[in-house]
């Protein structure tokens, strides 16, 4: 017992003060929200297009605008590497989540992604959010970095957000993975078991668009092909901070301006 108390003192207080304080330090090579400057593109270059594993990039033939769909992006930065002009960069902004699929597409002048849910559902949720997690073909990275929010480093419980065992106790689902055909039935049944009104959060490139499994006959190009999705959280996997930000935004618990 004494040892356990000593250990407790040694381990100290480790919970991040975010969102009231600064977010934990992100690694130097962190790739966050892309920043695009199409005016830098060399004429008829298009080198980034075939380099992208998930067809996340497009160049409008008329306007010559580059667009990057963060809902498909694996943040591998291959496009940045092959671009001779530096037209695609990745910022350190971890706030990637959006309630609109369209707003995940980044261009020179696109508005920042934002979670703007119907006020009624936010009011209904009040100060708590109970989620049932469904891994539908996820590789255990999105799952792990969702799970980590429950550890003392993040302490998700202090926001009233919890992962529950039964869908009947849940306000909604947090889905990871491209939704394989083999999990389709389980996902549909779990969705039906959640009482209405319910919200669905799709975490990771797979759950948003299929990710690397885009257009595989074995999978369904993401959760939205089967259930209505309210919040999209890009990344492969998204950093825990990105997921936390998305969850806090969902229940309207982010201080203004964050």
């Amino acid at each position: 017992m004494l040892k356990a108390i000593k250990a407790r003192l040694q381990q100290g207080y480790r919970t991040t003060s975010y969102p009231d304080g600064p977010p934990p330090e992100l690694p130097r090579h962190f790739a966050g929200l892309p920043v695009i400057d199409s005016s830098k593109c060399l004429p008829a270059c298009r080198q980034c297009i075939p380099a992208c594993p998930t067809q996340a990039l497009d160049i409008d033939t008329r306007t010559r605008q580059v667009s990057l769909d963060t809902g498909r992006c694996l943040f591998c930065r291959e496009c940045q590497r092959v671009c001779p002009a530096g037209a695609i960069q990745f910022s350190r902004d971890f706030r990637l989540a959006s309630s609109s699929r369209e707003r995940l597409v980044v261009t020179d002048s696109s508005p920042l992604p934002a979670v703007e849910l119907d006020g009624a559902i936010v009011r209904l949720l009040g100060r708590s959010l109970k989620l049932r997690q469904v891994s539908a073909g996820g590789c255990n990275a999105c799952e792990a970095d969702t799970n980590v929010l429950g550890t003392v480093g993040w302490d998700l419980g202090r926001f009233g957000i919890q992962f529950v065992a039964s869908p009947r106790h849940a306000d909604g689902l947090l889905i990871t993975g491209p939704v394989t055909e083999n999990t389709r039935l389980a996902l549909e049944k779990t969705y039906q078991a959640v009482p209405s009104p319910k919200i669905v959060i799709a975490v990771g490139a797979c759950a948003i668009s299929g990710g690397p499994y885009l257009d595989h006959p074995e999978a369904h190009n993401g959760a939205a092909s089967l259930v209505p999705v309210d919040v999209y959280v890009p990344g492969c996997p998204p950093h825990p901070l990105t997921i936390l930000h998305a969850l806090l935004a969902t229940i309207g618990r982010l201080p203004r301006g964050l």
Binding site: K3, A4, A7, R8, Q10, Q11, R14, P27, R28, H29, F30, A31, P50, C52, P53, T54, L74, F75, C76, R77, V134, S135, A136, G137, G138, C139, N140, A141, C142, E143, A144, D145, T146, N147, V148, G150, T151, V152, G153, F163, A165, S166, G177, P178, T180, E181, N182, T183, L185, A186, T190, G211, P212, Y213, H216, P217, E218, A219, C236, P237
Partner: protein, 504 residues
């Protein structure tokens, strides 16, 4: 290299597949059984499609003590006498072979799909050998008074991947557990064909997403062997550091989860956080906590500068100290030890018979570790002692992890202190046509085996991935025999196997 009718190769040494060809199936079957009888272990067994819809059955038998791989192959069509009938190790492999190629291993004791891959090909295959819905199949069952069946999954209570578990119980005791997977099947092996292409590296990095480094290394070593690429010493060291960080992060997380499963919250809380700290060290290497984007054919995509080395050294020290304090609590808590001791025990004989790998095997006292037995990359020059324990139970699997954490942390520090100079990424040429390679690495769960071959155009015409979970799921089923069903979560956690790495 050429023996009479089989090939002996080292880890990721390219060869010509025809060299391994035996005249007929009977010779093949004998050769595999003899090799296993001599102490070999089946690392891979599958059927490779060759021209005109024909297949060739291929077996890779690993001799751990000698550090060599024997490869056998033979033409196969329609059906053949199952190897599993005489050699339990072949059980899962032959189910996979049957499911993928439609070739029937006659006399197989329990022939049914392992992934239900045909359930998702949407009725395209006419001679569909497997059921239409994942998990809908006959299960091994028992009858009798007081015998009852418990079904769990595919959706579980926590944040975990899907899988179905079917227990045959009498009262609280489990007589038999059957594990039915396939829910995570994404078609990776199929999609690897015709590669390398832009997505290939992402398939291997997400084959089992908590083992991105381990699988990416196996893939890269395979590609490097087929293209004759030399990887610089500096890149080898960075890869080694990343692989060991992956091991430490997951082992620490597992110890925390084991503590949580027996209700010992201090270690659970501390280890949960420390795991995150170690993932953050991997992010120091490349920006991603799972090491995505780091390992690339030819070396690594990110270099380590002095600042990063200093940061890692500092973080390693505090992670080592925090982990020791957190983990020592486990061994000193009688309530924890009472649950760990003698729960889910496997004997070394059974371990060898069913071909377990990784910490699960080492916890049975079987000193099996690809880093030592088939050394690759930096492990050819810097050895990490193999950690074993002999109890074969939950305690053994936990304690081996703790030993490995300490040794890996020491290794990482040594490597950081002596980082060789030089470039980090060599150019990779085209793959040689009609060549074959078997690449093994030791992921944190155990042996990762990638078997790859190229066609006349130098593109993959076959790609097989064997995650350690492929070998070990059956070990979990065996560990549950005669256990209390309430110990299932604990036993399960002590293996902590990958669903997606199995289902691919």
């Amino acid at each position: 290299m050429l023996h009479d009718q089989y090939v002996t190769v080292h880890n990721s040494q390219a060869f010509d597949c025809d060299e391994s060809l035996l005249p007929d199936l009977e010779r093949f079957r004998q050769a595999v059984l003899e090799a296993v009888a001599k102490g070999g272990r089946i690392a891979a067994l599958s059927a490779r499609p060759v021209n005109d819809g024909d297949s060739r059955i291929v077996a890779v038998v690993a001799f751990d003590a000698e550090g060599v791989l024997q490869v056998f192959s033979s033409p196969v069509a329609g059906e053949y006498p199952a190897i599993a009938a005489d050699c339990p190790q072949a059980h899962w492999f032959e189910r996979d072979l049957w499911e993928q190629r439609g070739i029937v291993p006659l006399g197989h004791p329990w022939l049914k799909p392992i992934r239900f891959s045909h359930a998702c090909s949407r009725g395209e295959a006419a001679d569909d050998p497997s059921p239409a819905t994942c998990g809908v199949t006959d299960f091994f069952s028992m009858s009798g008074e007081e015998v009852h069946e418990v079904a769990v999954g595919p959706v579980h209570a926590g944040i975990i991947e899907p899988g179905h578990f079917r227990f045959q119980c009498q009262g609280e005791s489990v007589y038999h557990l059957e594990i039915s997977l396939g829910y995570q099947h994404r078609g990776i092996e199929r999609a690897m064909l015709g590669g390398p292409a832009v997505r290939t590296i992402h398939y291997v990095e997400t084959a089992s997403g908590d083992t991105s480094i381990g699988h990416a290394m196996a893939y890269c070593r395979g590609v490097e062997s087929l293209s004759g690429t030399h990887v610089s010493p500096r890149a080898q060291v960075i890869r080694g550091i990343a692989l060991e960080l992956e091991r430490v992060a997951n082992h620490v997380g597992d110890l925390g989860a084991l503590a949580g499963d027996v209700g010992y919250l201090p270690t659970m809380s501390y280890c949960g956080r420390i795991r995150g700290d170690v993932l953050n060290m991997t992010a120091v290497l490349c920006g991603n906590r799972f090491g995505r984007g780091l390992v690339r054919p030819g070396g690594v995509a990110f270099d380590l500068d002095d600042e990063a080395v200093r940061q890692l050294t500092r973080r390693l020290k505090s992670a080592a100290k925090d982990t020791r304090v957190a983990v020592d609590l486990l061994w000193e808590s009688p309530s924890v030890m009472a649950r760990f001791d003698r729960t889910g025990a496997l004997s070394p004989e059974l371990c060898n018979e069913i071909g377990l790998v990784g910490p699960a095997a080492r916890a049975c006292g079987v000193p099996r570790d690809v880093r030592r037995d088939f050394p690759f990359g930096i492990f050819r020059f810097a050895q990490i002692p193999v950690s074993t324990w002999d109890s074969g139970d939950v305690f053994g699997r936990a304690y081996v992890r703790w030993l490995e954490i300490q040794r890996s942390l020491a290794f990482i520090q040594e490597q950081l202190d002596a980082l060789p100079p030089g470039q980090i990424l060599s150019p990779v040429g085209a793959l040689a046509p009609n060549r074959f390679s078997v690449a093994l690495t030791e992921g944190w769960r155990g042996e990762i085996c990638h078997v790859l071959s190229t066609g006349p155009d130098g593109k993959f015409d076959w790609y097989k991935i064997f995650d350690p979970s492929f070998h070990n799921w059956f070990g979990l089923a065996m560990a549950l025999r005669n256990q209390q069903i309430s110990d299932f979560p604990l036993c399960n956690k002590s293996f902590n196997l990958s669903y997606c790495g199995h289902d691919l």
